[in-house]
Amino acid sequence: MEDFRYLPGATSLVYDKESCVGCGSCAIVCPHGVFVMNEKKAHLVDKDGCMECGACALNCPTEAIRVTPGVGCAAYIISGWIHGKENASCGGEGDCC
C-alpha cells in the first residue's frame, strides 16, 4: 500500500501513549501498519496512513486510541451535509461497497 497515500494531516486518530498497556491489539488489527509495538508499548508510526476504520479503538482495552470511524464515500458525505450526519445515506441503491 506504499503506492497509495491519501491527504496528510486529515485523520481524526488520537493516541494517548500513557494509557497503553502494551496488549498489541492495535498493531495486529490495523490494516495499514499505523501502530508498531516496541518495548511493550504501541507506537504511532504512520498517522497519515490511518483510514479511520476504527478497528484499533474498538479493540483497545484502555481506550488509549480514539478515532471517529465513518464512511469515506462522497455521496454519503454530501447527504450528511444536506440532511445532517444522523440521517446521511448514499441514496439510490446504496451499494457502493
Partner: protein, 410 residues
C-alpha cells in the same frame, strides 16, 4: 465498557441491509446449506414419466428447499446437521460471482448463517468465522483445500466482512450468538475462533470472549493466506496483515461504479441535448441532435475517464486528492475529443467540452473514495469542501461556454 462492544449500527455506503429476519439469533431459519426452492417449470416432472429411469433418492432433500451445489453431505452435530462443503469452485459459484461483480442480485447473494464443515473436522479443528455474503464464504472455502476446519458463518445480511464490520453488523454479539446457536462448545474442545482481521472494525475480541468464552485469533486480511496462517500455528506475517489495492482489485470495482451512473444519466442526457439546441433561433431541433450527439460523446468520455480509467490508473495519476486525479485524466480525455473533432468544432466548443469532461471526471473519481481501502472519511470531507465548488463552477462555465457557442452559430 460493554457498551463499546455494542457499537451502534453505522449507516454507510455499503449495501442496504435487507434482512427479513432482523432478530438474528432467535429466529430459526432454513438449516445451513439449504436455500429456498423456487422451481420455475418443474424440471424434474418427466422423471417418472415417459419411460425414463427414476433418479435415486437424495437423502438430504427437504420439501421447499434446494441444496446449494457446494454442499457435499451433512455431518451429525448437536444443534443440527452440519453441511460439509466443497472447496472447489463450481459453475454455479462462477456464475454467481460474475453476477455479483456486475451488481446483479448482489444485495441478496447470501447463504444461511450457521456452522459448516470443510474436509473432515474434529474436536480439535480450527473454527474459521466469516460473513454470509456468498462471495466472502466462497473466498474462504476455495482457499481451504485439504484443510479440516469448521466454518462459522455469521449473519451479516449478505454484506461482505469489512462493510458489515463497518456497519456494526459483524459484531461481537453476532459472533457470540452464532457460537451459542451452533452449540460450538459441544463440537470443539478448544475455545478459539479465527476471525478475518478486517472484521475487527466491528468486532471487539474482548467482547467475544466475555459473551461466549471463545478467544479471538485475528486471521489474515486475505483468504489466500489462510493456509499459510494455519501452517504457522496461527501467526500472521506483516504481509498478511495489510490490505492491498491491486490493479485487479480496482478493476473488479468498476462495474459497480458504472452501475451508479444509471440514474444521473437519465436526467443528464436529456438536459445536455436541450442545452445543445439553444442558439440563435432560440431553439433548433437540428442543433439539439447534432451538437447534442457531441456532448453525449463528451459525457461518455467523462464516465470512461472518471469511473473506469481513474480507478484503474489510480496510483499513477498525479495528486493525492481524487478530485485532482479525475481532473487530470479528464483533461486528457478532453484533449482526445478536441483532437478527434479538430476542424469540426469551434475552439470555444472544445474548451466547453474539455472543462465539462474535467469537472464530471473529477466528481466521479472523487466518488471512488468510497470504494478504496485507504481513504479516511475525514480526508474525503476535507477534499470535497475544496473540490465541489470548483467542480460546480467548472460545470457552470462549461454550460455557459457551450450555449454561447450555440449563439455564435458555430
Amino acid at each position: 465498557m460493554s457498551t463499546r462492544f455494542a457499537r451502534q449500527t453505522m449507516t454507510s455506503c455499503c449495501p442496504e441491509e435487507k434482512d427479513p429476519f432482523p432478530s438474528s439469533c432467535t429466529y430459526q431459519k432454513a438449516p445451513a446449506g439449504l436455500k429456498a426452492d423456487f422451481p420455475i417449470f418443474g424440471g424434474d416432472s418427466s422423471a417418472c414419466c415417459g419411460g425414463q429411469t427414476p433418479k435415486p433418492d437424495f437423502p438430504h432433500e427437504k420439501p421447499g428447499y434446494r441444496l446449494w451445489g457446494f454442499v457435499e453431505n451433512f455431518l451429525p452435530a448437536p444443534a443440527s446437521p452440519v453441511p460439509r462443503v466443497r472447496s472447489q469452485m463450481s459453475r454455479e459459484d462462477r456464475r454467481g460471482t460474475l453476477f455479483a461483480r456486475l451488481g446483479i442480485g448482489r444485495n441478496s447473494y447470501r447463504i444461511a448463517p450457521g456452522l459448516y464443515a470443510i474436509g473432515a473436522p474434529d474436536a480439535q479443528s480450527p473454527v474459521m468465522v466469516t460473513a454470509n455474503y456468498k462471495l466472502s464464504f466462497d473466498f474462504l472455502r476455495f482457499h481451504l483445500t485439504g484443510v479440516n476446519a469448521w466454518i462459522l458463518v455469521v449473519n451479516t445480511r449478505g454484506i461482505n466482512v469489512w462493510c458489515a464490520a463497518g456497519k456494526g453488523i459483524f459484531s461481537a454479539q453476532e459472533v457470540a450468538c452464532r457460537v451459542q446457536a451452533a452449540r460450538l462448545v459441544d463440537i470443539v474442545t478448544h475455545r478459539r475462533l479465527v476471525l478475518p482481521q478486517l472484521s475487527a472494525t466491528g468486532v471487539s475480541a474482548r467482547g467475544v470472549k466475555k459473551l461466549c468464552g471463545f478467544e479471538v485469533v485475528w486471521g489474515p486480511v486475505h483468504a489466500k493466506h489462510i493456509k499459510e496462517f494455519l501452517d504457522k500455528q496461527m501467526k500472521a506475517t506483516p504481509d498478511m496483515r495489510r490490505v492491498t489495492f491491486t490493479l485487479r482489485e480496482r478493476v473488479e470495482l468498476i462495474p459497480v461504479e458504472l452501475g451508479h451512473m444509471g440514474k444521473p444519466t437519465l436526467y443528464l442526457v436529456p438536459a445536455l441535448f436541450l442545452l445543445s439546441g439553444v442558439g440563435q433561433g432560440i431553439f433548433s431541433v437540428g442543433s439539439a441532435v447534432s451538437r447534442g450527439a457531441t456532448v453525449l460523446l463528451a459525457y461518455i468520455l467523462a464516465i470512461a475517464a472518471g469511473a473506469v480509467l481513474a480507478p484503474a490508473l489510480l496510483p499513477w495519476l498525479p495528486g493525492r486528492a481524487f478530485a485532482v486525479k479525475g481532473a487530470v485524466i479528464g483533461a486528457a480525455a478532453g484533449a482526445l475529443l478536441s483532437a478527434l473533432f479538430a476542424g469540426q468544432l469551434a475552439w470555444l466548443e472544445m474548451l466547453a467540452l474539455t472543462i465539462f469532461i474535467m469537472a464530471a471526471s473529477s466528481y466521479l473519481t472523487m466518488n471512488f473514495t468510497g470504494s478504496t481501502p485507504y481513504t479516511s472519511p475525514s480526508g474525503v470531507e476535507k477534499e470535497m469542501r475544496k473540490a465541489i465548488p470548483v467542480q460546480a463552477l467548472g460545470a457552470l462555465a462549461a454550460v455557459a461556454l457551450w450555449v454561447s457557442a450555440g449563439f455564435m452559430g458555430s
